[in-house]
Amino acid sequence: MLRVPHVTNYLSEHFADDAFGTLAGYERYGGYKAARQAITGMAPSEVVALVKESGLQGRGGAGFLAGLKWSFMPAETDKPKYLVCNADESEPGSFKDRILLERAPHLLLEGILIGAWATGASKTFLYIRGEYAFPAAQLERAIAEAYDKGYLGKRVMRSGFSHDVVLHRGAGAYICGEETGLLESLEGKKGQPRKKPPFPAQYGAFGMPSTVNNVETFCHVPHIVAKGSDWFRAFGTEKSPGTTIFGVSGHAVRLGLYELPLGTPLEEIVYRHAGGVPEGRRVKGVIPGGVSMPILPADQLDVPMANEFLRERKTMLGTGGIMVMDDTTCMVRAACVITYFFRDESCGQCTQCREGTGWLNKIVNRIERGAGVPEDLDVLIDVAGKMEGQTICAFADAAAWPVQGLLRHFRADFEQHVHERKCPFPESFQL
């Protein structure tokens, strides 16, 4: 089932070396060879086919097959085609793209270059979260180095292929991480997701055919091109090949980032790598992939961290942001924090998302205050259930799932609040 080759951390292998972030340092480790190989030795369709064969899943949360997405780009078009790199990492609990941007900007640029060659894109818009000031500075420097070296701009690596990368900094809205919200924001408009269809491959940035990929997704590509799809498929599970960088936050002892093959059991990450929770406490629940993903209770941590297994437990890998909660955690209060976030970050277009996120937050707040009534729990399930699968983008689903997860596994916490008309947990922080 789970296959673990000798070296597992191909993305993060050289993070310890500061020089890895510079062009010279990156090239010392063999950087840009894969791009040269693709641009000078492979047809774009071959690159797409290779990435398809590798089974690389998008690492931005939805897990869509990267090669398949690239193949949607129209081959015959008189319009310029664009790539968009989604570096608007904003999901609470998720911070893996940040380390890639900071420590491996050239790995990202090389992945972009290969993606551009494969899709025929003339330009990449790199949309980076506004708060990521240092990563943005690293990228800016890296982009300048790549231009100086002839790896970007006209006639990349003296080939007939030209490519530009434009860095665009966001302004602090979570919804701009949604790919079409990002496109709107990139165009200078309010970050509101677009109606689909048309999908970005037909009508993307500035109305041109575009493909949007996550930072980490691009970072796997040079490795796949250099070492082949079989090498890549040697990591992870059959359906979810490769590694990913898990970010562990919350009550774990050793917080941080762990690059591990997909399919690594959650308990292995939580207990072995992150050291479990402090002495005298027990794990109560773990969010496996950023706050949008439904929580798992302590007795379900045997699940392998790959979508095909997580789906069976009614949750998903998301961005791999693992949030560990120990037995001091009030799950109602957790719901307050999570619903507050979504209430604040909904773009406000679709009714059930705008109103629904507000209501979920209002109801859990009143339960936490001890003002809830038994009926509230049903209303929560009712509202959350009707937010799913009906809106312009998946935000409403993402806002409904965590509430559903908390109620599925920790209904007792909620009932206790209603019953006792107060929060039974010590007041560890102010809401």
Partner: protein, 928 residues
């Protein structure tokens, strides 16, 4: 290409590109929606219309999702209905206790859904969302707002005012005006399109002249807006018991397409103003003099800053009389003057506010009974020069195409037109075109609202139009962009133009006009290369002593590039009054009978002498300014004025005062006691457009029926009946049973209208010529195959730059430009008696460039005295960069600071139009 899909188990075939929502509607399946309005671009945000599509992971908003072949759609499964009920509940839970819409017009769409789904909110309302009461006409309640974006689209996509947007995100998202200001403090122009679009109580009209009541309890009267020449179709919702219009709504029409502006939507209450005249009045105060202080002298200091006439001050000069007494007096005095001093001693001013039928009868009275052609109306003051040039060059004075035809143009020239203020609804179509990428070239000394939408704005110096267009034509000829085939086939005299424009090099023109030579070239080339170019113009072109020359230039420009007679091309002088086109068509001008048949033509005269059974005067009559001069000189002694207010509308008011005071007998027929009526011997109470049946012809040549919405006040009578009474009492019996019968007589004598009858004009009228009104909407584009000239060809007429009559000098260093504002109409008689319009712009102002203000120490909202060689007025300062340095702009609506006290009465030699757009003035600081 068609698409077949299955909706609720039924096979449905629709045109490709149809949404699921439209496809379902076509099949008789109504999918509920809140954010969707078929008139607006769908956005799919309310999600009420979400449907299940077989095989799809998520539900699809049917208003945006296109039908696809083989699609299987369910529109009302149990799951869907439960979701809709939840959406309704979510929205209802934030609604105010009482919906402002349910309370007023009772047509709140959200409440209807709540009733349908039996929703009783289980959720308690959150933090209160604010109300905004700052607009004089619209009440905003954010609590009732469901963020459906309909108002945003109405404001931005329909009217292109770009005032409403969204602010905030998530649960705190709200609609906002400009940078989240109060609606009344924003740049909102109060068109009310947002209110018309709003499905809930978030945006509702404030009451105008009667409490708002449920739509179902009101009578809906389909008629035409009484204001400008755009002639918007509208519906008045009338409380018949109270005899009040409760609210107005735009009505679908091929012309205005349901849109309205602030005057049409909120400016109807003047008809119910207590100042309405209800009984005939006979003067008792002799010798005649002006009665109110503002009219008596422009030099006299004002007692109050602005406002309408004080009836207490003027009414004591009159006594009420019976209709019989008043009509007998009018008839006997007019007859006596005619018999004593000859027909030439009488004159009449009709009105472009009245219907075709009334205009026709009025000129018939003057011609057949008074025995003179001294009949005119305010067309003389607006487009007389345009008509003169058009008649001379292409043989017809009406527009060659409609304003809506702009959708087929790729270049639009808008010149001398403050379209957004004066033809606001026509402007929305120009803005539509600009949004779609049509190149708008705006040429104007003043930066008016339409310039914001321009591709290129050429800010020429006042009065340099001829030089500008000659320069444009020179470049077009030089660049080889003329249409040689068109010139050869359809025109004569092109060599004359070629010769005349030679001297107008871009560099020389740049020196005269103050527009960079490169810009002139760029604009000329864009116009010359256009596949279809259309020209719209307003009074910035016509109201000059060289107004006819101005118009000749733009007509030549269109002719030499072949831009007449095809869709998207043409010449369109934007007509001012609701019926200025119709009044001219009906013969309310001194040089021609109905249908522009010249009074000097033997054949025409014979035709009308036979039709009217009267001897007619073969001499062309005097024009309006000439009539006033003749009155002052004692040549014209008796006058009949129907709905005109020359005291404020004619130039050089101090001379008009002398003219009116010198008349032996003046009868004024109007709905209010106007400034002009202060000089009347008899005042007859007339009916407003809202109280009678009649046809009005808009700027497009669209003849539309106006229908009575209200009963006339007191003893006020229909205007055509009054004309008939006077005629009959003067010994020429006029007898008609209805306006429709009069219209038939007009049509029988006016070839361009043949075939038209009241009963075949339909709901939205017909564009004349319309030989087959049962089948067709009429003719949009005219002159595709020649012109109504002797030889079927248009004739080029060259013009030389001559400049204005009175140029600025050391003593009077500023150029005065007069004009209008969006919220007011002409002499303010109607609009200043409208609560909303008067609240929006309550008083007179002078717009001065900030640099000039600084130099002259003028403060915003302080007072400035503006003095010309003819008079002076004192009014508030409004700083604005829209007016060029060295110029001052004053709207002429305000009696207490009448711009026409200052203007010159010098006339264009051909159109006899005064130069309202240029005279020399000086500015001084003033206290009030």
């Amino acid at each position: 290409m068609s698409v077949t899909l299955t909706i609720d188990g039924r096979g449905v075939t629709v045109r490709s590109g149809t949404t699921i929502w439209e496809a379902a509607r076509g099949a008789g399946i109504a999918i509920p929606t809140l954010c969707h309005d078929p008139g607006l671009e769908p956005v799919g945000v309310c999600r009420m219309c979400a449907v299940e599509v077989e095989g799809a992971r998520v539900m699809a908003a049917s208003c945006v999702r296109l039908a696809e072949p083989g699609m299987v759609v369910r529109t009302a499964s149990e799951k869907i209905e439960r979701c809709r009920a939840m959406l309704t509940e979510l929205l209802m839970s934030e609604q105010p206790d009482v919906s402002a819409k349910e309370r007023t017009t009772a047509d709140d769409e959200l409440h209807a859904l709540a009733r349908r789904y039996g929703v009783r909110p289980r959720l308690r309302r959150g933090a209160a969302r604010p109300r905004d009461d700052s607009s004089p006409v619209i009440e905003v309640d954010h609590q009732a707002c469901i963020l459906c974006d309909r108002c945003i689209r109405a404001c931005n996509d329909v009217q292109h005012n770009d005032v409403i947007g969204r602010t905030g995100k998530g649960y705190r998202a709200r609609i906002a005006f400009d940078l989240d200001q109060g609606m009344g403090d924003s740049t909102c122009v109060s068109c009310g399109e947002c209110v018309a679009a709003c499905p809930t109580g978030a945006l509702v009209n404030k009451p105008i002249s009667a409490p708002l009541r449920p739509r179902a309890e009101l009578a809906a009267i389909d008629t035409v807006c009484p204001y400008c020449g755009v002639g918007c179709a509208l519906t008045y919702h009338v409380d018949e018991a109270a005899n009040r219009v409760v609210f107005a709504e735009g009505r679908e029409s091929p012309g205005s397409r349901g849109r309205l502006c602030v005057k049409g939507r909120y400016g109807f209450d003047y008809v119910s103003h207590p100042h309405r005249l209800t009984r005939p009045l006979i003067r008792i105060d002799y010798p005649k003099r002006a009665l109110s202080s503002e009219v008596e002298s422009s030099r006299r200091e004002r007692r109050k800053p602005g406002g309408i006439v004080d009836y207490d001050e003027v009414m004591p000069a009159f006594r009420e009389a019976s209709w019989d007494e008043a009509l007998d007096l009018v008839a006997s005095r007019l007859r006596e003057i005619r018999d004593r001093s000859g027909s030439g001693a009488l004159a009449g001013f009709g009105s472009a506010k009245c219907s075709n039928e009334e205009a026709y009868l009025f000129q018939k009275l003057v011609r057949a009974v008074f025995g003179t052609n001294n009949v005119d109306h305010c067309t003389r003051l607006c487009h007389a020069s345009s008509v003169a040039a058009l008649l001379q060059m292409i043989g017809s004075g009406a527009v060659t195409t409609t304003y809506g035809d702009v959708e087929n143009s790729d270049v639009v020239l808008i010149t001398g037109s403050n379209t957004t203020s004066n033809h606001p609804v026509a402007a929305t179509f120009f803005k539509d075109a600009a949004r779609r990428g049509t190149k708008l070239i705006v040429v104007d000394p003043r930066h008016s609202g339409i310039a914001d939408h321009a591709w290129r704005f050429c800010r020429i110096r006042s009065g340099t139009d001829v030089a500008f267009y000659n320069g444009l034509m020179r470049v077009i000829i030089e660049e080889g962009l003329t249409d040689a085939d068109y010139i050869a086939e359809h025109t004569t005299g092109f060599e004359e133009i070629e010769r005349a424009v030679k001297a107008y090099t871009p560099e020389r023109v740049s020196g005269i006009c103050g527009v960079p030579a490169a810009l002139l070239r760029e604009v000329a080339i864009a116009y010359g290369e256009a596949r279809a170019a259309i020209t719209f113009w307003g009074m910035g072109m016509s109201q000059h002593v060289h107004g006819t020359d101005n118009c000749r230039c733009i007509i030549s420009l269109a002719l030499m590039t072949g831009n007449v007679g095809r869709p998207g091309t043409g010449l369109h002088p934007l007509r001012g009054q609701n019926n200025v086109q119709g009044a001219s068509d009906a013969g309310l001008i001194p040089m021609s009978y109905p249908g522009y048949q010249p009074v000097t033509s033997e054949a025409a005269r014979a035709r009308f002498e036979a039709a009217w059974d009267a001897k007619l005067d073969p001499q062309t009559g005097l024009t309006s300014v000439e009539i006033i001069e003749a009155a002052r000189d004692g040549v014209v002694k008796g006058m009949y004025m129907l709905g005109e207010n020359p005291f404020l509308s004619e130039p050089n008011v101090n001379e008009v005062r002398k003219g009116l005071a010198a008349l032996e007998f003046l009868v004024v027929q109007d709905i209010f006691l106007t400034e002009t009526a202060e000089f009347a011997d008899v005042v007859l109470p007339a009916t407003s457009a809202l109280e009678k049946t009649g046809t009005y012809t808009n700027t497009d040549r669209r003849v539309q029926i106006g229908r009575p919405a209200l009963a006339p006040p007191g003893e006020a009578r229909l205007d055509w009946e009054i004309i008939c009474e006077i005629s009959t009492r003067m010994g020429y019996p006029m007898q008609y049973d209805s306006a429709s019968e009069i219209f038939d007589e007009v049509v029988s004598l006016t070839d361009s209208h043949s075939g038209l009858r009241h009963d075949n004009l339909g709901a939205t009228g017909k564009l004349y010529p319309c030989p087959n009104p049962e089948e067709s909407d009429g003719t949009v584009v005219m002159f595709g195959d020649g012109f109504p000239t002797g030889d079927g060809r248009a004739r080029f007429v060259a013009a030389e730059h001559s400049g204005a009559d009175e140029l600025p000098d050391a003593e009077y260093p500023f150029i005065l430009v007069t004009g209008r504002v969006l919220e007011h109409w002409h002499t303010g008689v109607m609009t200043r008696r409208s609560r909303a319009l008067s609240a929006l712009v309550p008083e007179a102002f002078a717009e001065v460039h900030p640099e000039d203000c600084e130099r002259l120490a003028l403060e915003e909202d302080g007072f400035v005295r503006v003095r010309s060689r003819r008079g002076e007025v004192t009014l508030r300062v409004r700083k604005s960069v829209d007016t060029q340095p060295g110029s001052v702009f004053i709207p002429f609506h305000f009696r207490e600071a009448a711009a026409n006290v200052l203007t010159t009465d010098k006339l264009d030699p051909d159109g006899k139009i005064p130069e309202f757009k240029f005279c020399a003035v000086r500015l001084e600081t003033a206290d009030l």
